[in-house]
């Protein structure tokens, strides 16, 4: 059972534009929502994470927006750069569970 649905599967954005990736979850026990960035041949690396007590978290050009009632969260990358080209995974976990459930990934390509 896929508990975290991610879209789109792939995304092409022009340099300087805004990249938006969406995720939806089913399990209301989830209370930790990280985003991971993965480059080819590398393991996933934590980019930014949010807990449901806030609706938005911003770190530099990266922002997570969280909608608890809709059970959705999204990653926004402002001023997208070619170096942001990677695969992005959303994930979810519940306190004490320590068992990340990952989305299927979005391959982001930033073109000049």
């Amino acid at each position: 059972q896929q508990q975290v649905k991610q879209s789109p599967q792939s995304l092409i954005v022009q340099k300087g534009g805004i990249s938006i990736i969406n995720c939806a979850y089913e399990n209301t026990a989830f209370d930790y929502f990280p985003w991971y960035q993965q480059f080819p041949g590398k393991g996933p690396a934590l980019l930014i994470a949010i807990r449901p007590d806030v609706s938005e978290k911003k770190e530099g050009r990266f922002t997570i927006s969280f909608n608890k009632s809709a059970k959705q969260f999204s990653l926004h990358i402002m001023d997208s750069q070619p170096g942001d080209s990677a695969t992005y995974f959303c994930a979810a976990d519940s306190f004490g569970n320590e068992k990340l459930t990952f989305g299927t990934g979005t391959r982001l390509t930033i073109i000049p």
Binding site: P44, G96, T104
Partner: protein, 112 residues
């Protein structure tokens, strides 16, 4: 601080052969995870260790997969015998309890 180390990075074997993967976690991280990442998918947890104890192995196919974490540091994941469907990237991650998971670069397995 050194990251999670995995070896080998690549492995090609014929079906029915055994294979083993090794992981050295970040120093001081008591929690160790093994994930499997199929092509175009997010990582899926196989097993989680707290020190030497396997606390979640519900997703580990125990008929052919085994893992150990002797002395609560390094870990080995073994497949015997390997099947074609085992071709994937095997990721090791580590963390302090309840904190961010840090992933290694993975071992890419191809079963012919």
């Amino acid at each position: 601080e050194a990251g999670v180390v995995q070896s080998p990075r690549y492995k090609i074997i014929e079906k029915k052969q055994p294979v083993a993967f090794w992981c050295n976690p970040i120093s001081g991280h008591n929690t160790l995870y093994w994930y499997r990442q199929n092509l175009g998918q997010g990582p899926e947890l196989l097993i989680r260790y707290e020190n030497e104890e396997a606390v979640d192995d519900s997703q580990l196919p125990k008929d052919r997969f085994s893992a150990e974490r002797l002395k609560g540091v390094d870990s080995t994941l073994k497949i015997q015998p390997a099947e074609l469907g085992d071709s994937a990237v095997y990721l090791c991650a580590s963390s302090r309890s309840g904190e961010t998971q840090y992933f290694g670069p993975g071992t890419r397995l191809l079963v012919l």
